[in-house]
Amino acid sequence: MASYRDLLAQVKTEIDEVDVPRAAEILDGPDKPLVVDVRELDEWTQGRIPGAIHIPRGFLESRIEQAAPDRSQPILLYCAGGARSAFGAKTLGELGYESVTSLAGGYTDWKRSGFATELPRTLDAAKRERYSRHILIPEVGEEGQLKLLDAKILLIGAGGLGSPASLYLAAAGVGRLGIVDDDRVDATNLQRQIAHSTETIGEWKADSARRTIEALNPDVDVVTYKERLTSENVDRILADGWDVIVDGADNFPTRYLVNDASVWHDIPVVHGSIYRFEGQVTVFKPHEGPCYRCLFPQPPPPELAPSCAEGGVLGVLPGIVGSLQANEALKLALQIGESLSGRLLLFDALAAEFSEVKLRRDPDCPVCGEHPTITEYIDYVEFCSGRPTHA
């Protein structure tokens, strides 16, 4: 029976190894391999080779395809001394990876030889516990969680859609949430707007939502704008540097304003709207996919466009649609999955049915088209009033 030493010696004859000076040359060269640190978490947090990603040896087989989908991608594995990475290299060879090398001497030799190391950004123990169910998902992991903690998402409205969206984004650990809302909580909101409570009736919704979010997750920095989004303040608010806008506005002028501003500021919008038993969700990615004006060039005349205040809405519906918006916003922040850009998802609560229609960019779109005719903010209230705006 082979001993561990025999086995290691055998494996080393079957794989490619490089020593530290050669590895340093390769990493300085034009064809950088993917550097994978296969040590345990406590070793990784003490320092790493710059640019390395972390996949502990025990997860190497299950996670490598996520990190390196292309089997011809060159990979350099290292551990502390070169044993675990040797076994890892053999396994990756068996998985079909064509160019895998193991760093002989490992991180210990690398550091001793005086080559650069860096301390990886990591989550502290409390965050690792709070976000453990994210970290367990290979597509998110610690790196994804750090992305979320760095993410800045702006919510237009802290009402029906903004309530669930903001709570799930806060729970997920999105580092900064902005809330634009000029309204105060009243009793009619509480049938669905779960960021607020009986106790906060009369408060600004932005303040009420902030309290709920901070109680849920103190990691989140909440920025409130207790004002109605207008042509006058939109540039100032967007200048605060938002990665994604979650649009849960309750009127057409704000929808068109959010659209035009997002196209000019190049910020993706996760759009949701609700009425009675039905909701719509999509993502507008400026210059990549269609915008709101490509979908609806003009708002309906006001008499044909009842609001939830006039027509009512099933309380749980914004919960579903707002959660779908949070889902899209998280995917955008994590840069994973297929976004709803170019697709409008329709949800019918009565039939319990989802359907989908295709959205396409309109080359003649007045804002994002090839020859835009609207290049600055217009009077959005007038535009949506049903009165002709142009002669």
Binding site: G157, G159, G160, L161, G162, D183, N189, Q193, D247, G248, A249, D250, N251, F252, T254, R255, G272, S273, I274, Y275, R276, F277, E278, Q280, L295, F296, P297, Q298, P299, P300, P301, L304, A305, P306, S307, C308, A309, G311, V313, P318, L344, L346, D348, L350, A351, S355, E356, V357, K358, L359, R360
Partner: protein, 90 residues
Amino acid sequence: MKTVRIPPALRSETDGKREVHAAGATVRELLDDLMSRFPGLRPQLVDEDEIAPFVNVYVEGEDVRTLDGLETEVHDGSTVILLPAMAGGS
């Protein structure tokens, strides 16, 4: 017969029905049939013999404006979705 899905904002014009059947080989014929039976739909769907700019009509998930507009053919068994803009979020 083709199935036309009626959005909630228009159901007051269709006796509350969320789906209605309509006859016709093109979107135009289908809408004419629909609007003759539910006249209240007309101002919500068409504007001077065109599909109103604030409503979209989808045949098999495609916006008919990207196909042949009102002349887009609708096959038996197809579902047509009428989709007016809605702004509600609160």
